[in-house]
C-alpha cells in the first residue's frame, strides 16, 4: 500500500492542475501588425492559472512592442513563444500598463528586453509586487511555479512617441490604480485601455478612485471618436470595434457609486450593503456578484464616512 501512496498523490496533483500548465495562448489579429491574447472573463482559479487578462503586441518596423506580460513566468514564456510564431523580429520593448499582478508577473520571460511603465506603476510593482505574487500562488497554485517579480526600469511619460519606428500615443491616466497607462497605436487605430476598460466582466476596484477613473474614460472615449479609430482592446474581455467596453465600464462605475451612496444615505451597514441585489442590467455580467461585494469592501468606508457627516 505504502509505495503506491506517492503515485496516488501525484495523480491528485495532476488532476487538480488540469494537467500540463499550457495556457494554450493563440494570438488574435486585431489589425495589421496588432495582435491580442484574450483571457477568460473569470476570477483567478487553479483551473485557469490566472489567464484572465488580455495581453498584446504590436509588430513595429524596428521590433515588437509587448503590452503586459501576464500572470506568471509560465504565461510570459508561452506568450513569448506565441509572439515568435507570428513574427520573428526581435522584441523592442515590454510595457506594463499598471501594477496589478496579472499584468506584470510574466516579466521574467522578457528579462533581456527593456521593461517600461509609468513611474507610479514602477513604484507599485517594487513595493507590492511580492505580496501580489504570493496571493496569486494562493489563488492559482502550481501555475505560478518559479514566478518572481521583475520591476521595470524604464520610466514612461504620457506623450506621443516613436517606439521601434511606430508612432504610439501613451496616455498617462489613473483611476483604476494610481497609475494607468493606455496606449493608442495611431497607425492601426487600436486603443489598448489596460484595466481602465473591462468588457463582459465586472470591473475590479482594489485601488480605484472612481471619479478619476470616470475622467480617464472620458479621455479614452474621445479617442474612439477620432477618424482613424478601429478597435478597443480592454484589459479584460473581448476586443470591440467601438467604445462599448468604455461605456460598459462607465455604466458599472456610475451605478456602483450611486448604489453605495444610496445605501450609506439610507443607513445600511457594510454587510447589508453587500447583500443588496444587483440590478438586472448587471446581474448576468460574469463575476458581477463577487466583484460588487469586493468593491463594497474597498469603497464603502469612504462613502459611509461622508454620509455620517463631520465629527461633532
Amino acid at each position: 500500500m505504502k509505495r503506491w501512496l506517492p503515485l496516488a498523490f501525484l495523480g491528485v496533483a495532476l488532476a487538480a492542475a488540469g494537467a500540463d500548465f499550457d495556457y494554450r495562448l493563440s494570438a488574435e489579429r486585431v489589425a495589421d501588425d496588432v495582435h491580442v491574447f484574450v483571457g477568460k472573463t473569470e476570477d483567478f482559479t487553479p483551473a485557469n492559472g490566472g489567464n484572465i487578462v488580455n495581453t498584446g503586441f504590436i509588430v513595429a518596423p524596428g521590433g515588437i512592442v509587448v503590452i503586459d506580460s501576464g500572470p506568471s513566468r509560465r504565461y510570459g514564456e508561452q506568450m513569448r513563444r506565441a509572439i515568435a510564431a507570428v513574427d520573428g523580429r526581435p522584441l523592442a520593448l515590454v510595457i506594463n500598463t499598471h501594477h496589478h499582478p496579472d499584468h506584470f508577473l510574466g516579466n521574467q520571460a522578457y528579462a533581456d528586453v527593456p521593461l517600461a511603465a509609468l513611474p507610479g506603476t514602477i513604484e507599485g510593482i517594487a513595493s507590492d509586487g511580492n505580496a501580489f505574487a504570493e496571493n496569486l500562488y494562493r489563488l492559482t497554485g502550481d501555475w505560478m511555479a518559479g514566478t518572481e517579480v521583475v520591476v521595470p526600469k524604464q520610466a514612461l511619460a504620457g506623450d506621443r512617441q516613436e517606439i521601434a519606428g511606430r508612432r504610439l500615443r501613451l496616455l498617462a491616466l489613473d483611476g483604476h490604480t494610481g497609475a494607468d497607462l493606455a496606449i493608442y497605436d495611431e497607425a492601426s487605430g487600436v486603443l489598448f485601455t489596460g484595466d481602465l476598460g473591462f468588457f463582459g466582466r465586472a470591473p475590479t476596484t482594489p485601488h480605484a478612485d472612481v471619479n478619476r477613473w470616470l475622467a480617464a474614460l472620458d479621455t479614452l472615449e474621445a479617442i474612439t471618436r477620432e477618424p482613424g479609430f478601429r478597435a478597443v482592446v480592454p484589459g479584460h474581455g473581448p476586443v470591440a470595434r467601438d467604445a462599448a467596453p468604455l461605456r460598459q465600464t462607465r455604466a458599472w462605475l456610475n451605478w456602483l457609486q450611486m448604489a453605495l451612496r444610496r445605501s450609506a444615505e439610507s443607513g445600511l451597514d457594510m454587510n447589508e450593503t453587500m447583500a443588496q441585489p444587483l440590478p438586472a442590467e448587471f446581474a448576468g455580467l460574469p463575476v458581477a456578484a463577487s466583484e460588487y461585494r469586493r468593491s463594497v469592501g474597498h469603497l464603502f468606508p469612504a462613502v459611509e464616512r461622508e454620509a455620517l457627516g463631520a465629527p461633532r
Binding site: R138, D269, M270, N271, A275, R293, G297, R305, L308, G309
Partner: protein, 255 residues
C-alpha cells in the same frame, strides 16, 4: 484500529477532557472548529451553553480585507438579552467585544480584524443565565491583527483622536437606526514597537436612559463604526466612552 476510528477516539477524548461537568449540555459545534474546546473557557465555569440559530451572525463568507471584516449580530429574537460576547476562534486575541443591550435591542453592526480564516461567534446571555451561541465562518487571507493601523503611519491622527461622527435615521426603512464612527487607531499591541491602544468603553444614552453599553477589545477595526437600533427612545443620542489610556470623549448625535 483504522485511522478514522482513531481520530474519532482522539476527538471524543478531547471533548471529554473539556469541562466534564457540562457533558450532556453541549451540542456539537455546528461550525466544526478545532478551537471550540478552548473557547469554552471564555465562559464562567458553570455556564450553560447552547448553539442557537436564533443568534444570527452576518459576515461575508470571503473577506478580502482582514483589517475591516463587517459583522452584524442579531440576537433580538431571543427576547431580553443581558449581554452578548463576540469572539473569533483563531484570532490571537479571541475576544472582540461585549455589548450590553439596555433600551436598545440585541442588535449591533461593527467591523473586526481577523488574523486568519476563523469562525466569528456571538454568545447571547438571556435572563435565565443560558448563553445562546451563533456564528459564521469567514475565509480571509489574514494578517489583520499584526498589521499596523493606517494611523500608526499618519502624522496627524492625534488631532482627531476620539472624534465621533454619527447620524440617526428618523424615517424610511431604517427608521430608529443610529450609526456612529469613532476616530481611533485601535492598535492591537501585536505589532513591534506599537503598544496596545484601543477603545475600552462606549455607552449610548437617550433621554437619560442607557441604550447600550459596549466593552471593546483590540480586534475591533481601526476607526470603529457601529450600527444599532435605538428602540423606543427618542431625541438626541449621547455617546460617551474612553480608551485604555484614559482618553475620555463625549458627543451628541442629533435626531
Amino acid at each position: 484500529m483504522n485511522p478514522m476510528t482513531g481520530l474519532a477516539a482522539i476527538f471524543l477524548a478531547a471533548l471529554l477532557t473539556v469541562r466534564p461537568a457540562l457533558a450532556g449540555q453541549e451540542d456539537v459545534d455546528p461550525l466544526g472548529s478545532a478551537r471550540w474546546g478552548d473557547m469554552r473557557y471564555l465562559f464562567p465555569e458553570q455556564a450553560t451553553l447552547r448553539f442557537d440559530s436564533r443568534v444570527r451572525v452576518l459576515a461575508p463568507e470571503v473577506a478580502e480585507n482582514p483589517m475591516q471584516v463587517p459583522v452584524t449580530v442579531d440576537a433580538s429574537e431571543l427576547g431580553p438579552v443581558s449581554e452578548v460576547m463576540v469572539c473569533a476562534d483563531f484570532n490571537p486575541i479571541v475576544e472582540v467585544l461585549r455589548f450590553y443591550p439596555q433600551a436598545a435591542p440585541a442588535w449591533l453592526g461593527f467591523r473586526i480584524k481577523l488574523q486568519q480564516s476563523s469562525p466569528v461567534r456571538a454568545a447571547a446571555r438571556t435572563a435565565d443565565g443560558v448563553w445562546h451561541v451563533g456564528g459564521a465562518w469567514v475565509t480571509t487571507v489574514g494578517g489583520g491583527c499584526t498589521a499596523p493601523s493606517a494611523k500608526a503611519a499618519a502624522p496627524d491622527w492625534q488631532a482627531r483622536l476620539n472624534q465621533v461622527s454619527g447620524r440617526q435615521w428618523e424615517s424610511g426603512a431604517q427608521a430608529g437606526r443610529v450609526r456612529l464612527r469613532i476616530e481611533h487607531p485601535m492598535d492591537t499591541g501585536l505589532v513591534a514597537g506599537i503598544p496596545a491602544f484601543h477603545l475600552e468603553q462606549v455607552e449610548l444614552l437617550a433621554d437619560g436612559r442607557s441604550l447600550m453599553r459596549l466593552q471593546l477589545h483590540e480586534p475591533v477595526s481601526e476607526n470603529p463604526v457601529f450600527t444599532l437600533k435605538r428602540g423606543a427612545a427618542e431625541g438626541p443620542v449621547e455617546v460617551r466612552g474612553h480608551d485604555n489610556n484614559g482618553n475620555a470623549f463625549q458627543a451628541r448625535i442629533a435626531p
